[in-house]
């Protein structure tokens, strides 16, 4: 066994053990002392939320996923807030992350408006529908579905190593009509990379489904947008990641209004979460070249699996 593999295995084992303890201890504490959450001052929860979101922000960048996808399942496992407020904050976390990163990516031609706009239009309508459906459902049903979704995301992340530069395919009629194609400068190879897309109608359908799921659970949807762009439609990975952020900023804004009008956005909770994730993401970006991202990614997958299991158990009332 190589030392790198051993390191990965050890870090995975330590993380799994810590997470099991971390997830189990609160259950025991709450069982013994049901009002422990109410006895803690509000500002303590806010500092904890900020610190927790900060760590999530670092992990999300190192693992190559958006902060929104980690925020909802993990925060709902540890904090006393109702899932409605966590989903409302989660959408704003995803939205603000996409907004703050968007401008430089658009200037470099990585986030492409002509690729993103049709997907965002259909996705934003379905994300409003998803948010309305999610807020109308009983909390245990949402927890159950969230558990299933998180397990699916973890499975998708494990397959993500197959992403890459797609083969050049003949563009379909719809993408030709919409002039969806582009060119960007690839710094690693010092060359221009031109791209075009195919399977646009199927892509639009999947963005509708993704929008619905994102709105329902208040999660960012980079975990799904990127594979659809890259693996299905043939968009280069860098363009897929950047344009996913653009789509997310539009879909997130649409669904956020539903949460705002339903009273599920509480600034007291949402703002420290946004601040923590954004600050953590900046630190994560600086650490990116110094850290073994493979082991971090593995840790995040384990965190998602544990959070998914916990969500499933909560959904079943266990």
């Amino acid at each position: 066994m190589s030392s790198a593999t051993r390191k990965i295995l050890i870090s995975c084992a330590v993380t799994t053990l810590s997470l099991v303890l971390f997830f189990t201890i609160p259950q025991v504490v709450y069982a013994v002392q049901p009002h422990v959450a109410e006895q803690t001052a509000w500002w303590v929860w806010m500092i904890l939320l900020f610190a927790f979101s900060f760590v999530l922000g670092i992990f999300s960048v190192l693992a190559g996923v958006g902060g929104g996808v980690l925020f909802v399942p993990i925060v709902s496992g540890f904090f006393p807030f109702h899932l409605d407020f966590i989903r409302g904050a989660g959408l704003l976390v995803a939205l603000s992350g996409a907004l703050s990163a968007g401008a430089p990516l658009m200037r470099k031609g990585l986030a492409d408006l002509k690729l993103g706009l049709p997907m965002a239009l259909i996705g934003s309508i379905s994300s409003i529908a998803g948010a309305l459906a999610g807020l109308a459902m009983p909390a245990n049903v949402v927890q159950l579905l969230l558990g299933v979704a998180i397990m699916g995301i973890a499975a998708l992340m494990m397959r993500a190593r197959v992403y890459g530069t797609p083969d050049s395919q003949e563009p379909d009629a719809l993408s030709k009509m919409l002039h969806i194609s582009g060119v960007y400068y690839e710094e690693s190879s010092k060359s221009e990379v031109s791209w075009q897309i195919h399977r646009t109608p199927l892509g639009l359908f999947l963005f509708m489904v993704i929008g619905f799921i994102g709105g329902m659970f208040g999660m960012g949807a980079g975990w799904a947008n990127v594979p659809v762009f890259n693996m299905l439609m043939g968009v280069p990975l860098k363009v897929a990641v950047a344009t996913s952020g653009l789509v997310l900023s539009i879909n997130g804004a649409a669904a956020a209004w539903v949460y705002i009008f339903k009273g599920a956005v509480v600034p007291l909770i949402a703002v420290p979460a946004i601040g923590g994730i954004m600050l953590g993401s900046k630190i994560g970006a600086k650490l990116l070249s110094k850290v073994n991202t493979r082991s971090v990614r593995m840790i995040v997958i384990i965190m998602l699996v544990v959070a998914g299991l916990r969500s499933l158990l909560k959904g079943f009332g266990i």
Binding site: A37, W42, W43, W45, M46, P80, F81, H82, D84, G88, L92, L95, S96, L99, S100, G102, A103, M106, R107, G109, D112, L113, K114, L117, A120, L121, S124, I128, L132, A139, M177, L178, H179, S181, G182, V183, Y185, S194, S249, I250, A253, A254, A256, W257, V258, I260, F261, K262, G263, A264, V265, V266, P267, L268, I269, V271, P272, I274, G275, M278
Partner: protein, 140 residues
């Protein structure tokens, strides 16, 4: 390749969108941070005390709203007095964040129209309409 794309030149509409996005997101972050400090340090009176929020944040959003009458939608626009509350200022900063995309798309729409790109003008207009309908509260 699209005719208005030159050798790794970027579409004008992308640059316009990026410029607006940069401006609104910088202002948004400052507003978010400033608004939160006004709220938690109680520099202005609050419409709902923080302790009341903390005592009820385990409830469903609809239950908390019914119990505490927390601000929702555009309800705080009823009067100037309702606007000058610490929690409402923080709430407004979140509204601003949710409106940021509409501003970017509005400028993109104008640029598409000036470039006589009517298909994308229509798509951008539709997108703005969807977001405005969501922001109006008509479908909730």
């Amino acid at each position: 390749m699209d005719k208005e794309k030159k050798s790794f030149g970027i579409d004008k509409v992308q640059l316009v969108y990026a410029q607006v996005l940069e401006t609104v997101s910088h202002v948004g972050i400052a507003f978010l941070v400033g608004g939160y400090f006004v709220y938690v340090l109680q520099l202005l009176p609050l419409s709902v005390p923080i302790d009341a929020i903390a005592a009820n944040w385990h409830l469903k959003a609809s239950e908390m709203q019914q119990k505490l009458h927390t601000p929702s939608g555009w309800s705080f626009l009823k009067s100037t007095a309702a606007l000058l509350k610490g929690d409402v200022v923080s709430y407004l900063s979140i509204f601003y964040l949710a409106m940021a995309t509409i501003a970017c798309l509005a400028f993109a729409t104008i640029t598409f129209y000036r470039e006589k790109n009517y298909v994308y003008t229509a798509l951008a207009v539709l997108q703005v309409v969807v977001l405005l309908v969501a922001a109006s509260g008509l479908i909730h």
